[in-house]
């Protein structure tokens, strides 16, 4: 039987090499393209009727828009709305990648969905881009005062210790952001695969054991439902953390003040 990790394998579809650099078009790239095309078509076809009383599709698109707009406004303040298009793009991309990877396409031979976000390369690229953007925006807005986010409001002698700690903590953001998303996807899909393996192994064992296969089957149904929730939730968490990090760069002092008052 196929190993549970086989679903994460990246296979070249169109091998391409420039010099010694491998830039093959892989199943990962294919699914990224599918995600982008699907997002574009769902969003444009959803809002194109522009009816006052929205159809279901238009309603979904409008609700997504409103949700992300509310999220940006509440997490980054009105100044953060400039970054709404970026946050929306990140959110929708992660959401669609998470959900498309759960499509039951495996029933067709030679077709199986690939979760783009289950690879740390992809999520880390997103996270490091966000991280770089936070620094650039912060430096652009506040100049060198941006570095005051490393200095919490404490007595001077504590700063010697706290500034390095804050710097390490700041640098750990892209890693925790990317690892969280990637590990959630990886763990969920592996779990689904393992449970699916149980069902098949028990069902083909014959006799009384075949009846037992209903137990992992029931668990599989529950886990699948949970996976859809996690897919949505992780996209949401990814986007809201993007907002929070951006808000640090935009409203330097508001955020440091908001963090301090309890003691």
């Amino acid at each position: 039987m196929a190993s549970p990790m086989e679903q994460f394998e990246v296979r070249p579809i169109v091998p391409l090499h420039i010099g010694r650099i491998d830039i093959s078009f892989t199943n990962s790239s294919l699914w990224m393209c599918i995600v982008v095309v699907l997002i574009a078509s769902v969003l444009t076809s959803g809002v194109s009727p522009r009816s006052l009383v929205p159809s279901r599709m238009q309603s979904i698109v409008e609700m997504t828009y409103m949700m992300v707009a509310d999220m940006v406004r509440s997490a980054a303040g009105p100044g953060g709305l400039k970054f709404f298009p970026f946050v929306f793009t990140v959110f929708v991309f992660v959401l669609f990648s998470n959900l498309l990877g759960l499509l039951p396409l495996g029933v067709f031979p030679h077709v199986h969905p690939f979760t783009v976000t289950s690879h740390i390369v992809v999520t880390f690229a997103l996270a490091i881009f966000i991280f770089a953007m936070v620094i650039v925006v912060g430096l652009f807005r506040h100049g060198l005062r941006f570095f005051s986010i490393f200095a919490p409001e404490v007595p001077i002698y504590m700063l010697v210790l706290l500034i390095p700690i804050e710097i390490v903590s700041f640098c750990s953001r892209p890693i925790s952001l990317s690892v969280r998303l990637c590990a959630n996807m990886l763990a969920g899909h592996t779990m689904l695969n393992v449970f699916g393996g149980f069902v098949i192994a028990l069902a083909t064992a014959g006799g009384a054991l075949a009846g037992l296969s209903l137990v992992p089957m029931a668990a599989l149904v529950a886990v699948s439902a949970l996976e859809y929730l996690i897919g949505f939730l992780q996209a949401y968490v990814f986007a809201i953390l993007t907002c929070i990090y951006l808000s640090d760069a935009i409203n330097l002092h508001v955020s440091t003040h908001a963090e301090q008052p309890q003691h």
């Binding site: 006052l52 009383v53 999220m71 210790l161 390095p164 700690i165 804050e166 390490v168 903590s169 640098c171 750990s172 953001r173 890693i175 925790s176 690892v179 969280r180 590990a183 959630n184 996690i230 949505f232 939730l233 949401y236 968490v237 809201i240 929070i244 963090e259 008052p261 309890q262």
Partner: protein
């Protein structure tokens, strides 16, 4: 005049009906409040681990540059643990605020 316009009258009616329908229903909490215990635990663990890894990594790299192995690795590793704790506390505070609403 605007009241005589059938469209605007229908629109006003619709607004009323919508408000009535919405009033009967509880507002669904934002997704972050529905987060499972497992999700929260997982989030805290990644915050802690990421800082430790980054701290250790910075220390290791600096050691290689200045050939002071293993002093900086040890120092930065400890700082990483401290930063991880700070991350965890900050995240927990954020989650608390999300769950109970902002403090006073």
């Amino acid at each position: 005049m605007a009241e005589d316009d059938p469209d605007s009258r229908r629109l006003a009616e619709l607004k009323e009906r919508l408000q009535k329908a919405r009033g009967n229903r509880q507002e669904t909490p934002p997704p972050e409040r529905q987060q499972s215990q497992l999700g929260i635990a997982f989030r805290l663990v990644t915050e802690l681990l990421a800082a430790v890894i980054v701290g250790g990594g910075i220390g290791w790299a600096l050691d290689r540059i200045f050939t002071t192995s293993p002093i900086l690795l040890i120092v930065m590793f400890l700082l990483g643990i401290a930063a991880g704790m700070r991350n965890v506390m900050r995240t927990a505070r954020q989650l608390n605020e999300n769950q109970n609403g902002p403090r006073r």
